[in-house]
Amino acid sequence: MSHAADLPVWAAIVVAVFLLIGAGLALIGSFGFYRLRSFYDRIHAPTLGTSWGTAAIVMASMFCFTVLQSRPVIHEILIGIFVTITTPVTLMLLGRAALYRDRSEGSPEVPAMDPADGVLEEGVQVEE
């Protein structure tokens, strides 16, 4: 096995830069999550961490182990792919739940339900 001390200085700098970018984006995202006030604003902040936050850390990892093992190590890219394609599922679930609650409470801040939307349409889908 290779050790981190074997990493040449130039490669260590590249890896460190990518790690700092990724960690920084995740930190800013979490900070925004804490700082923003409305639910709909808050769902935007963590996407910093799930997009280029993840991507930069994944790139740092690929670069680090590719240099250390002197062969391409790219399986980390799967992490990026799966994080990217699964994020919308959670986000839509949370977003639609919040929208449903706000609409049923009659909140003026969210757009009203479309006439063709809602109970009627969902009823049709259940019958299928």
Partner: protein, 162 residues
């Protein structure tokens, strides 16, 4: 006959590549990976999902590059807004966009694009009317976002899928 054994060529190829990325690039793992992929493809075929038809393969890399570039740009924009805090006037809001896109796969890809781009969140899609409800973090100019989604993403997805 070929399509019975290989019902989803793209899925099979991706699964084999994924298997070998995780297990190692050896002939033995290639065989195991192909076996797993074929069984998985049969499983998917049993569910009979709608088969996406790709008309323009050549445009996919262009779409990926555009999206990666936009994600970098909006990462910087959203990070700046969060760090600036309340110093700057910011208005976030909802945006309803009528879509011409109907293909479920294309809509799923659009959802992934909009969700992975910080600053836009896909909230609701009305399949009867084909309207999409978005939440935009920095809604300064509605027309600009409208243009971005209709002309930049939807236009390309329509070309690729329909």
């Amino acid at each position: 006959m070929i399509s019975r054994i290989f019902p989803y060529p793209l899925l099979i190829a991706s699964l084999v590549v994924m298997w070998m990325l995780l297990a190692g690039f050896t002939p033995g793992q290639l065989l195991v990976g192909i076996g797993v992929a074929l069984v998985a493809a049969q499983g998917l075929a049993a569910l009979q999902p709608a088969k996406p038809r790709l008309r323009r393969w050549d445009l996919l890399p262009k779409l990926v590059i555009i999206v990666l570039y936009d994600i970098v740009r909006s990462n910087i924009a959203v990070a700046r807004i969060i760090l600036e805090g309340s110093k700057r006037e910011r208005k976030s809001g909802f945006l309803t966009i009528p879509l011409d896109l109907r293909d479920p796969t294309a809509l799923a890809i659009l959802a992934v694009i909009l969700t992975s781009t910080p600053g836009t969140a896909w909230l609701d899609y009305n399949s009867a009317r084909g309207t999409l409800l978005l939440h935009v973090f920095d809604l300064v100019d509605e027309a600009e976002w409208f243009d971005l989604i209709k002309n930049r993403y939807e236009h390309m997805l329509l070309e690729i899928f329909e």
